[in-house]
Amino acid sequence: MPSVVQLVNGSPYLLQGNEAIARGALEAGVQYCAAYPGTPSTEILTTLAGVARDAGLHAEWSSNEKVATEAALAAAYAGLRTISSMKNAGLNVAMDTLQHINLATLGDQHGAMLVVVADDPQSHASGDEEDTRWVAQMANAPLMEPSSFQEAYEMTKYLFDLSEEFQIFCWLRDYTRLAHARGKVTVGEYKKATRKAKFDRTKMFTPYIAPPKHAILVEKMAKIRERFEVSPFNSYEGPAKPELLIICSGSGAPCSRDAIEELKLGRKVGILKLGTLWPFPSRLVVSHMKKAKRVLVVEEVDPYVETHAKAAMADARLADAPEILGRGSGHISYVGENNPDRVIAALCKIFDITYSARTPEYQAKVEEVLGKMVASRGLTWCPGCPHRASFYAIKNAIKRDGRNAVVTSDIGCYTMDAFPDGPQVTNVLHCMGGGLGEGCGFGQLQQFGFEQPVISICGDSTFFHASITPLVNALYNKSNMVAVILDNSITAMTGFQPHAGSGRTATQESTETVSAEALCRTLGCRVEVVDAFDTKAATAKLMELMKDEQGVKVLILRRKCELLRMRQEKTHPYKVWVDAEKCKGDKCGFCYRILQCPGVAYDKQSGKARIQEALCAHCGLCADLCPNKAIVKEERA
């Protein structure tokens, strides 16, 4: 595939939703791009960083989403077009800044800013199913949601122009089934942006004093509402007088089309696809709702459009108002992502149709033939992952310490500790920086009789993202805790993005390496660093730090992410095999049941452990820990 700047004007390409957004931003003249990695938003910045040199961009992985947004905002103040992209949870971090921007405005007819927030309905890679569309309304930002790859590209371009015209930031809602899906995009002309950055010293940008600025913003939003009432991004398809009108946004549109086709309801059901979601095009929606007896709203995740459609209907005071179905009526679940099947089910209920994708006979055969054959495949750490060793050491230390230590953890690959196939050492797990923040609290309960040690876990990227502030708080407020930093040298879970401690930037330039340990020492913490694979030393050190009652102690368990190491070194460190004579099989099961490494499995035929050659990283961890010394690691020649 040619790079995203090499695509030819007028030609169709198979682009990922995130790539379509990146291409749209480039065509719109974006010059400054900042983000923190987060599934499913990551590839927007990855794509832009990949062409930064050719396109003359600044592209950075910021320490967190708030910093990314502020950095992008500054560049907009200096007259550039800027983008800040993040996942749903990242928005929560950036929100304090976003809430102010449009009151303060971006300036005088130069500079533009697009914020892309990628939601993750179904929580494929998130802690919740947060629907961020409500928040665009709170921040008074024009919000659009694409329902195709082409729209993702076109809306991105449109929103940069709208931002520049009204001097407020605009908001594009991205989501998993767009971000991490691919489809056809016909691109336009790309020209390298050449704006110079300059700031007018006579200007001041601040929300203070808010009420008069708020009044100006309300006026702007009223003007934008009029645009949105007639926007070509909203469109109707179907019969002139539908029995049922589906109002949908985002992935609701393709899912509804597929469901209507599957049930052959094309003559009865029409689709009003909304692309402009805030300000809400109420008159347009009412004009379509008038034509139908019933309305079904298909969106994800919350009833956002549904709520606005109901409000618009109340305002319109129609004599013969249609019934509005969706979440509220129980036709569509509040939980989970859109798919054709859930729209099919809703339509079947509305039209009283019986539908089954497969005949009952075939369905029965599927159940009979497959029975319990389909074993589960849960998420677990990769073979060779340092976190497996770290959590083994943490679990052992807690057990040997014997005082029921409380473990607060954080977001990264190590989150998988808490999953069904993980060792489940974690007690509390919420969000980025939450591990150390909650540790602050647990560590200050002594006056209430609390005697358990506190272990607060974060990763290296998470440390720089949101864990430094709680660490400072812990020191200041005399919290007793051991902060464990699992340092694998990269933001691994989202696909190996560098961070402040990696020594290189998003565009692969070398840079200052910020040392987590030096920072912690400077703050006044006792800091210990141990190789994560040295589980004996890690266990002993953690026990020692737990016994050291006073203050904040930091234990850095360090080892490079195995996938990253393999990419760089391209060879396994050892050759590992099982000595079948020494292996006690299921009487022991340490390697596959306790350590739970997918690289070694119980072999039914021999009744012993066996290396899984397709998976094993030959890291030697199981060989180091095997109670029977039945796993051998041999240095590679």
């Binding site: 198979l14 497959l370 849960g378």
Partner: protein, 202 residues
């Protein structure tokens, strides 16, 4: 005879690290170049290895379909890992579905830990054969290992896919995708993997 359905619904499944995403992109990309709409829905989250990954690929000359096909509506399932093939058959197959699957298991954690059983390979093959119209099993991993390139297993499988004649794509279509997606010094090996995959089903 190639499948004539429009939309054409393909499932490509496997586990993380097997090259599922590259494969769905090549198939979707090849159809796009023939003037079709291609939509690919992918389920992957963490960069982590060994998790279940699947792509729903939808091809049409009429319009752009959504990235997820309705359940029970797959015309073809291409499985890079046999247990994942089974999982997709369970959800997406119907009596008209054709299936092409690798036979080399990647054992999941629950099986490694002896909490669950990996299905017996003969029973697995029998089950897929019972539920699908036509089935090809390919030892693609062994072929790739024989080429000293286990990473090329996915290309062996796309070769097998071409060899079955179920799609209207030609070898040249896929070779063009390989040229678009791989560095030049990897092409010869991958052309060979393609040829070996085709031969395996002939």
């Amino acid at each position: 005879m190639a499948i004539s359905a429009d939309p054409l619904n393909l499932i490509i499944c496997g586990v993380g690290g097997q090259g599922n995403i590259l494969l769905s992109g090549m198939v979707g990309g090849a159809y796009l170049k023939k003037g079709c709409f291609s939509t690919i829905g992918e389920t992957f989250g963490a960069a982590q290895r060994g998790g279940a990954v699947f792509s729903s690929v939808r091809i049409s000359k009429k319009r752009e379909y959504g990235p997820l096909m309705p359940e029970g509506k797959a015309h073809l399932i291409l499985g890079l890992e046999p247990l994942e093939t089974l999982r997709m058959v369970q959800k997406y197959a119907n009596p008209g579905t054709v299936c092409i699957s690798n036979v080399y298991p990647v054992v999941p954690a629950g099986v490694s830990a002896n909490r669950e059983d990996y299905p017996d390979m003969d029973e697995l093959k029998q089950a897929v054969s019972t539920l699908c119209k036509k089935v090809w099993f390919v030892d693609a991993t062994s072929i790739a290992l024989d080429l000293k390139a286990p990473i090329a297993m996915n290309i062996v499988m796309v070769g097998a896919l071409l060899g079955t004649g179920q799609l209207t794509l030609t070898v040249d279509d896929i070779k063009a995708e390989l040229r678009d997606n791989l560095p030049p010094d990897r092409l010869e090996l991958n052309y060979e993997a393609l040829a070996r995959g085709m031969k395996a089903v002939s």
